[in-house]
Amino acid sequence: MDTFLQIVANGLMLGGLFAIVAVGLTLIFGIVKVINFAHGEFLMVGMYLTFLLSTGLDVHPYLTAAAVAPALFVLGALTQRLLIQPLMSARDEHVQIFATVGLSTALMNLALLVFGADIANTPAHGVRSQVMLGEVRILTGQLWVFGAAILLVIALQLFMKKTRTGRAIRATAQNRAAARLMGINDKFIYVLTFGLGAACVGLGSSLIAPLYPTSPTIGTYFVLIAFVCVVLGGLGSIPGAFFGALVIGLVDALSGFYIGSDLREAVVFTIFLLILILKPSGLFGTRMTQSHVSP
């Protein structure tokens, strides 16, 4: 029983970690309608920035989020402005997918060039120490990630529902031409949203860096899992991505223990394929009425 509880706790903590990566991905997809295949590399860039800042300035890695999240915002905003926006009028939407795949490869190779293939270990500053919750052992850093993921989801929901800019973002996603007729600068909204989605993963990277060694390819693993969470939660749904991430975290941990750790990913991706076939709108997804085609 204790083992089971421990595995469930591990799964939930892992889910929180996936969630903090997945939230930005689903935000960008839901509004800009672009699957950002470079999202994992955004995470990787954020983790290297966290590593550099926390070792260079000798500060707690969490503090670097104050610089890393804005830096990632700029990276995301520039990606939309300089890469995606010029391609938005392209007839074939696949062009945008290739563009983000290209960016992903470019960033990965840039990291290899700058940092080499060696891993970088961000100093833990105590977040790798264990706490006991009843019978269950958890790293304090995992708890922080989990809490941050919940806060991020709530903050984003409030922003989208209660602020003028948030409403403008939703309006643009639901009917781009009508949004323009309201006086909304749609191009600006896309740049802003891409920046916000990247800033979310920037925040995540400062929290994840002290828990995982950073390498140029770290993003690949996370982005694939995050993509599964996003599909499971219903493409574009922020709370959906969160709960999808918890489910995937649990599946990952349970299958790793009961089926075998080599097969964890096989199980996760089998579930992914089953969802795509049986319920493509996701477990929590609603109908998508959104289009970015300006008629």
Partner: protein, 234 residues
Amino acid sequence: MLEVKNVDAGYGSTVILQDISLHVEPGEVVTIVGANGAGKTTLLRTISGLVKPRTGAITFEGKDITKLEAHDTVDRGITLIPEGRQLFPDMTVRDNLLMGAYCRHARDYQDDTLHEVLELFPRLRERLDQHASSLSGGEQQMVAIARGMMARPKILMFDEPSLGLAPIIVSQVFEVIAQVAATGTTVLIVEQNVFHTLKAADRGYVLENGRMVLTDDADALLQNDHVRQAYLGI
């Protein structure tokens, strides 16, 4: 107030509008009538900035707006209530209306305007927290008009406000348009419902195959032989 001069416009390589000129003076109710496919929607979109003219010029209050983006023309006081309503389906009626007041000059008056607009559309008050997509067609048209008014426009353009509505709702829509005009807002209406619209308007233009073929006072157009034959079936 609004002047369109020798404008050509279209989509891609297709030219739809050719050598279009029209003007609207402050406080007027002007209509553009024409058959399906004549280019009415394209013309309103061109004025709004959703479609860019190839040649010609559009001025508003003496300033050139030919090259402005759609979101900039709204800030100048030009609001289009688009054909087919184009609400934000997954937003509440309230949020749809608040989006109407997004533009700079309307923001600060948002709550007052909402109050005024709801006086005009008392039925929307009960619907404020419902999703726009759950409303009937007539109610959705009312939301679209109310949303347009939330922008506090100087000129309000209606694209086929009666399209697909039951006759009794059509009359209500035209009553509302009359009320909008009575507040001093300049109105430009595009319609296939020629009789109703000419009754409501001061002046009219007839658009055929992308060209303006006729313009006169609305009363005169109602008596015009061509209009009677082609549009009123008399």
